[in-house]
């Protein structure tokens, strides 16, 4: 994260007092913690004393002044989880990882945290690992959760290979198929569309396997930018004013081949937000 990024964040949230917490949140999201030099810069730019900034940064639990690991495991210590034995779960994690809550493993892989309540009290004890929720955790499940965390294999999404779930789409304007059986991705025909940004135009391929929407483009587009997606046959744009539920960027809308609804995908590079609307076309 360079100085310009930080200045952008400060600019976006405003230099008055009210923006501070949002600024710190964004910095933490980027860096995983609040590095001292950035806090100094924030103090200088917002005109508040470093002591003041430090006060806020240490008052709220969400902020950390220490770097965090690549993965974060949080065990809920809410009352409902507590009476169902959450303390034992935390101890089990501590023992397995050899660290105390709030610490990070020496290999910088996993940070163990506790949180006051995640609001999923009915399913306690609850553990969240990198945004994935585990319900009714017992000491025996701890090893499994850590393995999933390290390998990024979270069971709840199921193995798509077992039941291939394929999307077949066509252009909503001209009705022609967008499927390209000539080039397959993940072993299935890909979706071929035209992508353009800043005058650069080329092809873009989307896998048709549902849930695996990492795209490949003819041109290298920078991360985090919005690209125009359009039909390679009739050149009409797919953007129809609907917005991505993940990031708010415009969605590109295609029609399902059998007319049974629409498939939408986010036009921001790096975002895999998508919606499969069966039998209905509008939000």
């Amino acid at each position: 994260m360079d100085t310009k990024d930080i200045l952008d964040i400060i600019e976006r949230n405003g230099k008055n007092h009210a923006g501070l917490i949002a600024i710190l949140e964004e910095v933490q999201e980027e860096c995983s913690y609040l590095p001292e030099e950035i806090l100094r810069l924030v103090a200088k730019e917002t005109g508040r004393s470093l002591a003041d900034i430090y006060g806020v940064a240490t008052f709220y639990k969400a902020f950390s002044l220490k770097p965090k690991g690549r993965h974060c495991v949080s065990a809920c210590l809410g009352t409902a989880c507590h009476v169902r034995g959450a303390q034992k779960i935390v101890e089990e994690f501590s023992q397995e990882l050899g660290i105390k809550p709030g610490e990070t493993t020496p290999d910088n892989e996993i940070t163990l945290e506790t949180v006051n309540c995640l609001g999923a009290c009915a399913l306690g004890p609850i553990v969240v690992s990198d945004g994935h929720y585990f319900a009714n955790v017992t000491a025996r499940k701890v090893g499994e959760i850590l393995r999933d965390t390290r390998e990024g294999t979270f069971g709840s999404d199921g193995a798509p290979e077992e039941h291939p779930f394929l999307i077949e789409v066509s252009c909503p304007r001209c009705g022609r198929s967008l499927m390209d059986s000539g080039t397959s991705l993940h072993g299935h025909p890909s979706i071929l569309v035209t992508a353009s940004m800043n005058g650069k135009t080329g092809w873009s391929r989307i896998p048709s396997l549902y849930g695996r929407f990492a795209r490949t483009h003819e041109h290298a587009f920078p991360d985090n930018t919005i690209i125009q997606l359009s039909c390679p046959h009739c050149a009409s744009s797919f953007q129809d004013g609907s917005r991505c539920v993940e990031c708010g960027a415009p969605l590109a809308t295609m029609r399902l081949a059998d007319g049974n609804g629409v498939f939408r995908i986010c036009t921001r590079t790096g975002c895999e937000g998508h919606l499969l609307d069966l039998g209905r076309a509008e939000l």
Partner: protein, 1055 residues
Amino acid sequence: MEKFNSINGLQEFRSRLLAQFDPRVPTLVISAGTCGQASGANAVIRAAKRVLLRKGPACGVRLRVTGCHGFCAMEPSVLLEPRRTFYPKVGPDDIAAIIDAAERGDIVESLLFVDPQTGARIEKQDDMPFFKGQARTIIGRNEKIDPIRIRDYILNDGYLALTRALGEQNSGSIVEEVTASGLRGRGGAGFPTGRKWGLFAAQRNVSGKYLICNADEGDPGAYMDRSVLEGNPHSIIEGMTVGAFATGATEGIIYIRTEYPLAIKHLRIALEQAREMGLLGENILGTGFSFDISIVKGAGAFVCGEETALIRSIEGHMGEPRQRPPFPIVKGLYGKPTMINNVETWANIPIIVSTGARQFAERGTEGNSGTKIFSLVGKIRNTGLVEVPMGMTINQVVRDIGGGAPGKRKIKAVQTGGPAGGCIPVSKFDLPISYESLKAAGSIMGSGGMIVMDDSTCMIDVARYFMAFLKDESCGKCFTCRKGTQRLHELLEDIILGRGTPEHLTLLEELGQTVRDTTMCALGQSAANPVLSTLRYFREEYERHINDKRCDAFVCKQLTGAPCQAACPVDTEPWRYVALVEKGDYEGAYRVIRSANTFPAVSARVCDRKCESRCSLGAGGGEAVAIRALKRFVTDRVDPSVYRPEPAQDKGRKVAVIGAGPAGMTAAHQLSLLGYRITVFEAENISGGMLTCSLPAYRLPRDIVEKEIESLMNKNISIEYGRALGKDVTIQSLMSQGFEAVFLAIGAHESLRLGLENEDVEGIFPSIEFLKDFNMRGKELARGHVGIIGGGNSAVDAARIALRQKDVTGVTLFYRRTRDEMPAHEEEIEAALEEGVRIETLVSPIKVHAGEGRLAGIECVKNRLGGIDASGRSTPVPIPGREFKVDLDTLIVAIGERPGSGPLASMGLEVDKGGRVKADRKTLETSMKGVFAGGDLVTGPNTVIDAVASGKNAALVIDRFLSGRPLVEPAKPKLPSVYIEPAVFEESEEAPPRAVPASLPPSERVMNLREVESALTEDQARMESRRCLRCDLEFTMEQPAEKTAGAAIGGVRHD
């Protein structure tokens, strides 16, 4: 997206949506809030989409992904509209069948919800006990709406309240409507919302007024706000916009905790959609009224739920509260008038404004109108969000809707109101829920968390938990809160670690009151509530921790040690002998067992295994170590002669023991070792007490009992048979014969009576008489169709013995509660069923039919489970009109026993109404000096192991009594103190399942008395011992390794 420039435009749009919407189309509604997703809803949704995509447009089934429906324990759940079929715990593989059936207009019977009480399947959501008693005006809307689609909301009367409000000439009428509804703040304080609005509307400020939605749902255990925000975000936006119009606010803020990512996402989408449609922002619906809402994320500080702290936080400061007045309504955010309402309060506004105050106030009670959402969590069967009319009792919520405790656990209390609240004991569960009643009971409504606690919850630990929370979350501004919560926490910590003294309790109370009286904000003022309320209702539990150094919930580690050991009434160290079995040292294992327990081989067969019920392996999600089976393995294999303690030299002092059962024989043996001369007086002609006369030989072979008693005998003990107390000897005669102390252990041998007419006709037997006649005299009293009344071990024993009598054609057992509540051991019930005993539950006898002086049958009534009684179990309630008759030839009454203590009372001993002799719990002293009592005589019918424990204790106190020492010594926690090296495991070694001993098949056992269960094989035993988690190591690891063979054996150390 269409933008509307007029109220009419929106209304036309709604009409259009309604015209397009066909409510008859079968729709799968999948609950996918955070709870649903955590339970696997995403995989279900994905499977549903795949199936629907494959079927193509011809398939008429639709899909709706929504927020939480409330029944979290059954997630991921699917609701099929419009039939309202409820499918619980749906897996991705179930979806195809559900969709296929829905297409045909059918349902999948096998996937329906099973009512745990009746065992019947229930199809419709609204018929399920969890949903039936609720009034789901707010949470019920979640299932109608996909939260990321504003059309769903509009279709379901969304923004109707807004159009109604905007159409009003006079915005004051909205405030009047809200006032008339009687709505009170759902954040917890219960301030009348209408009054707040009126005060706020009266604030004239040209430069701006703020509305805030407090979505900093910080109370651990409460999550109804999250569910509403996730599932129906537009209701909050609409509520706030109506509020702004009514009060003249210009800007709105939703302050939401960062721990709720899905709620934040859905709110963001909803705000954007509302703005795009012209429902929010500049010139709303072309009326000239402007109002917009922004989101501010909290960064994880509980105190920010307090309104002045929340304001400081939005302003970008540390969230410290400030003194009020001025109240935020006058001077709030950036110094401008600010009105703060909680999420649930805002969610009520569209309902009140669109349907009218009167309809709203019809629900609930005077002064507490409307509904309230509670999060029913903790030790309860049906966890989830429950929306009920105010004024419902706690019992109705916990029992009828919540389904009571899971399994055989007993509910002890419910904690309400979060950290600022308190614990309400089960004895107060008939309390109607209102702001005032909960306050009077020492708790508060709070935001609606209801955490159910059972006998495995330690109330001191709960108090400590909240104090740890509050000391961390205290902002530190007020000294008494900052330091007071710390100090309260330390005091509780002392008690938990075994350092508590009676003075700790005085100090806790005094300090708690000081913190309450001298702090500024609600956090501090209520901070002591968890301590004060638990002290008020659970003082005994505190005293048990302090005086006896025991935590009966097995939560406080330093008072529990290894749970198996702490659970054992005779202080056996199961972890230790299990470890020795693993090492192959079976003799060592026998010595460990026998040093604590005078009846090892008997216990190995009939002990109720308190150790296993507390085993950490079982508590941690697995199956407990088969400790009793390992004991059986050891006692079957090792000759008792490896542990034969020599009695000390005869002191020449005489002690009398009355009753040669497990309590009496244990006391006699232990005292004899100390050098006392013991005479045991036994009324029957055989020793063993209940072991011989009541326990069936197929569970406990007679020779085992004989051998075990034989091994307890030595030169200091003599038994006189056929000598009954009150008939052949009296306490006075014994005293005059030079006995310096008497231990009474005559058991409980009188069966309780049903109290029905005709009970004395021929063919009806008390269970004890029935069992004694068979076990001791070989008499078979039962014939024909035999009925048994009762659900305890004695009832099941009688049933199985009856089945083994030659003139019996069938046996039916009648029990008044459900099988889950039957006190008999689960495996005994199983075995009885296997052998052919029929069990009818939820049935009580109401009449005995007789003909010619003989039993003809009984009349019964069907029960349902009602409220929880003081014992924490549900009371059976007869259902009028559900009476029925059963023809019987024999009836055995096994509803409990009482001691036959008539003669004792006439000798001058104090006896209670149940026939139990009054004796001090610890010293066993009766009302007569030198006379001690124990076993079933004092407790009523109890287990063998408790009788042995009582005998052991009797020996200790009688010895102290006779040597002139104090009878009670200060308690110390019983912690493991011998180190035994743990087993070595291969990296790849998988934990085997719990070992199950072989048993005779039913066909080979029903006609005889052969012992049903065998011992484990050596391989089985060695494998089983490796499953032990070795909880002891935590306490013994630090110590240098001792040679196991040379280590001190047994309970002696504990004294």
